[in-house]
């Protein structure tokens, strides 16, 4: 154990890792703070760069950039009322109200401090949860994997803030995309339409870049430019944070725990964690009437929550290859590329790499405090950059990055196509996260499904025979039926309210 830890230290204390981490931190802070550029997009655009780094440095960049971007999204949320990333949307109003009350320092300081605390809580959960889960996962057969993957996909559709039917449709579209290519049980070209470029299937990474980056540029074409940031001088940013920590320690802990749980659930990421935690904070607060008027309590809880979900999102990713959120979905792609194939054996065979990941998460969250403070101070200047200067660069990065993934032009075509698909889906209320999970998990779901069917000789019964498989199956089916139950519940309740309001 101690030797592994020392090995892990040796792995991360190279110049390459250190430089990669600091550069990625700055990059994450800048991208996260620019409205319209999300943490997922920051991570997706980073992938081509990770090709040319060593495995540990590659993961370091993703860990650092994603953690920083989630915090950094708070900055324009507090100063402009425009969340920099979707994860900050839940409490942007609250933070802006604080700024108007002259408490911008307190709001932003709470953002940095509780993000860092939340991030570290998330890492602890990863360290504690992953090894015992890996033990259990070693005894999983394809039946369990099939249900687990299905449960993951179902969770993704459940948490989408949209119609569950559309979310499930989005998931099917993703799975259908994953069907393309010759990597299937029969090894026959499937849905390739005779194009040799499609034989290898659709690479998940260009698809993700398209959905998250190109679609965003497309939306920018139709939305008005955000207003410029009023210039302001900041006082001490960390002042009073320790007092807040003591005052709101329960809220903070609850935020951490909720964030961890939501992070572990596949498909639900930082934005969901922030929404749920903010709502919980309001629900259980002693002074709920203060919410919305610039009250720091909700900020504490939601800030602690969204960063906790980032690290815990890696739990299912590392163990089963099932992404905990869209950022982890990208991370999985990088892990495969770097020979760190997700699975329970990762924790025994590559234990030092796992420890290195934990350590990097901890370092990134500590680094967040000084870098975050510096970022808050220079944010006024960075937010001066007009959108018409940033979006063209994003476009170039999309083109070059997707080309670099396979050194062929088909990657660029994929990016363009998925930009359109993502844009149209988003505009019509189809959650893209569900499709993304479908694309990333498609091959795995199919393999588990078909292998299970072959083992069971075409019978459905063995899918439910093993105890763990039965439990997972019950949960997956429950997740599928949940919206139906909610709908029935509403129908039962509606006649009464309808009679009362007589609309």
């Amino acid at each position: 154990m101690l030797k592994t830890l020392l090995d892990a230290f040796a792995l991360i204390s190279t110049w390459e890792v250190i430089i990669a981490m600091i550069a990625a931190s700055v990059y994450g802070l800048v991208i996260g703070s620019l409205p319209g550029l999300s943490a997922t997009m920051a991570t997706a655009l980073l992938v081509p760069v990770t090709f040319y780094l060593s495995p540990i440095a590659a993961i370091a960049t993703i860990v650092a950039a994603s953690s920083m971007a989630i915090f950094s999204g708070d900055i324009p949320g507090a100063l402009l009322r425009i969340p920099g990333t979707p994860a900050s949307a839940a409490y942007a109003d609250e933070a802006y109200a604080m700024t108007r009350k002259g408490q911008a320092e307190l709001a932003l300081g709470a953002g940095v401090w509780f993000s860092a605390v939340g991030g570290i809580a998330g890492v602890l959960s990863l360290m504690i949860l992953a090894p015992p889960l890996a033990e259990i996962a070693l005894s999983f057969s394809t039946f369990e994997y099939f249900w687990l993957a299905l449960l993951g996909l179902m969770c993704a559709t459940l948490v989408a803030r949209s119609s569950p039917v559309k979310a499930i449709a989005g998931m099917f579209i993703g799975l259908l995309v994953a069907c393309i290519g010759i990597e299937n049980p029969g090894g026959v070209p499937r849905f390739t339409f005779g194009l040799t470029d499609l034989f290898g299937g659709i690479e998940p990474i260009p698809a993700l870049v398209g959905v998250f980056a190109v679609a965003q540029v497309m939306r920018a074409m139709l939305t008005p430019e955000p207003p410029p940031l009023p210039r302001r001088k900041f006082g001490s940013i960390m002042a009073g944070q320790w007092k807040l920590t003591k005052l709101y320690r329960w809220q903070m802990t609850r935020g951490n725990i909720v964030g961890i749980i939501i992070g572990v659930l596949p498909g639900a990421g930082a934005d969901m964690a922030a929404w749920v935690s903010y709502a919980m904070s309001k629900r259980f607060s002693k002074e709920p009437e203060k919410f919305g008027t610039g009250h720091v309590e909700g900020l504490v809880e939601a800030g602690a929550s969204n960063n906790a979900s980032i690290a815990s999102g890696w739990v299912p990713s590392l163990l089963f290859g099932i992404p905990g959120d869209t950022i982890a979905a990208i991370a999985i792609g990088v892990l495969y590329m770097k020979g760190l194939n997700p699975g329970p054996t990762l924790f025994t065979e590559k234990a030092s790499s796992m420890y290195a990941i934990y350590l990097m998460f901890i370092i990134a969250n500590i680094l967040m405090i000084p870098l975050g403070i510096a970022m808050i101070r220079v944010a006024t200047y960075i937010l001066l950059a007009p959108r018409s200067a940033i979006m063209p660069i994003i476009m170039l990065c999309c083109a070059v990055g997707s080309f670099a993934i396979g050194n062929n032009m088909f990657g660029v075509v994929t990016v363009a196509a998925f930009g359109v698909i993502g844009y149209v889906m988003e505009a019509n209320g189809y959650p893209v996260a569900a499709m993304v999970l479908g694309i990333v998990m498609g091959t795995m779901v199919e393999q588990a499904f078909v292998t299970s069917l072959i083992k069971s000789d075409g019978s459905i019964l063995p899918f439910f025979e093993r105890p763990v498989a039965a439990i997972l199956a019950a949960m997956a089916i429950g997740a599928l039926l949940w919206p139906v139950m909610v709908w029935v519940w509403r129908k039962v309740k509606q006649p009464q309210t309808a009679a009362a309001t007589s609309r």
Binding site: I173, C179, P185, G186, V217, M221, T223, P224
Partner: protein, 163 residues
């Protein structure tokens, strides 16, 4: 680009049916009951069912209308002109990417990238004073990072990079 649910739903029904049919006609693995055809068949059917449900408006009550944060203090942004052509602007980014695919090998990275940057920047409302220097400088910066540092073989074309 907000289409009625009946349109997107019908499209999904067609897509699902096509996928199911496409899976159906795939050759099975000899001597094996399940092959590459099963999965697309299942997904296609599921997709078609979802499409039908969407056409009939199932689950619409769960959708949340997108909340637009109103600007305060009279800094209300000018309402975007609502013409047909305006909506087409959204297609500019993917079109430019396809232009890159078509032209990069002949024109080279620097020239193609400069055109892309200039067009995108102008479309987003930049004056030529910003767009022109950006279009001249940013391709070199990107080439320096990706072409020189990361050794991505970017096409040289008409104007090879100076390094």
């Amino acid at each position: 680009m907000r289409l009625p649910d009946s349109v997107t739903g019908s499209f999904l029904v067609v897509l699902g049916a096509a996928a199911a049919y496409g899976g159906w006609i795939l050759p099975p693995v000899p001597g094996q009951p399940v092959g590459p055809n099963v999965f697309p068949l299942v997904i296609g059917c599921g997709l078609a069912l979802c499409g039908l449900a969407i056409v009939f408006g199932v689950g619409r009550s769960f959708e949340e209308e997108e909340e637009l944060i109103p600007f305060e203090d009279g800094q209300a942004a000018a309402p975007p002109p609502q013409s047909k052509l305006y909506g087409m602007r959204a297609l500019l980014p993917p079109a430019l990417l396809l232009f890159y695919v078509a032209a990069a090998d002949r024109l080279g990275f620097i020239v193609t990238a400069a055109i892309m940057v200039y067009v995108t920047s102008t479309a987003l409302g930049a004056k030529w004073k910003l767009a022109l220097p950006l279009a001249v400088l940013s391709p070199f910066a990107i080439h320096l990072i990706f072409g020189k540092l990361l050794r991505v073989p970017l096409p040289a074309g008409l104007l090879p990079a100076p390094w």
